[in-house]
């Protein structure tokens, strides 16, 4: 039995409909994410991004002391990462993609190399 062109077209559009229903949920959330790790004794590398898988090149990432002074004002590079020298005093990292779209990472949560 040969399928008519109409039949195959119907099948194809039904398949497309099912696929788009499946993928629609993944486009809903895009929460900011940031991860920092010590790459050696002196340097810390932070990678920013969003939960929909997109990167965050150019987004502000500041290293801030516990006394609220900005120790390292930075922006993520083209690869969505920033490497900075570990400050001598206590600090936290603030990935700032805009008001209410921030991720804070305390120095205690940065894993050692």
């Amino acid at each position: 039995m040969t399928r008519s062109p109409l039949h195959s077209r119907l099948l194809a559009s039904a398949a497309l409909l099912v696929l788009s229903a499946g993928f629609s949920a993944s486009a809903l959330a895009h929460n900011p994410m940031c991860e920092c790790k010590a790459i050696d004794a002196e340097q810390i590398q932070c990678t920013g991004g969003f939960s929909d898988g997109s990167g965050a090149p150019g987004v502000t990432l500041d290293v801030i002391g516990y006394d609220e002074t900005i120790l390292v004002p930075g922006k993520l590079g083209a690869d969505s990462t920033l490497t900075f020298k570990k400050p001598g005093s206590e600090f936290y990292v603030l990935f700032d993609a805009g008001p209410g779209h921030v991720v804070e990472i305390d120095q205690a949560d940065i894993q050692a190399p």
């Binding site: 959330a29 929460n31 900011p32 994410m33 939960s51 609220e68 008001p99 209410g100 779209h101």
Partner: protein, 180 residues
Amino acid sequence: MNKAISITPPSRLSRFWHKWRFHINVLLLLIPLGFMPKYFADASLFRGDSGLGQREIGTVQVGPWSLRLAELREEAPSLSGPAGYMKDFTAALCDACVEPVKATYLRIGKPRSLRAAGTIFFGTPYRMGTQMPIPEKTKPDAELWITMEGWDGSMHQASIPLSQASPATVAWLNKQGAKP
């Protein structure tokens, strides 16, 4: 002129299909009916017909302002992809706060600064929503901090126990145990 015509008998599956296809299609139309109660409950929740959320937390006084806070769903935080566990809250500003309040933020634990005030509420001031990340290492006795920023540059903060804001979240934290 003897032409042999061989006709293969239709398979059982084919006969079944041709006999019942219309009935099967009617059954398919009935399937969505089973999802209707959930659909209408959700529609009413998102439209605000059934209140701010499934569980009203109450009015929280934040400096000179106040807001009504609610859990959108009375349930544990849900895993939202790689960003971790999230919990939805809704809020409505007091009538006198609608004009002077610029932004409202929500965070677990006292914010270090206005920049790090947490997630921002978005939407109409009469029914705003936000999705707050719940770190797995959150202590069950943690506090939920509300930060409100005015157009005049003023900032006011208030906190309520997480156990009051979301018993379901505290139960979830207790169940999974304290993460390091």
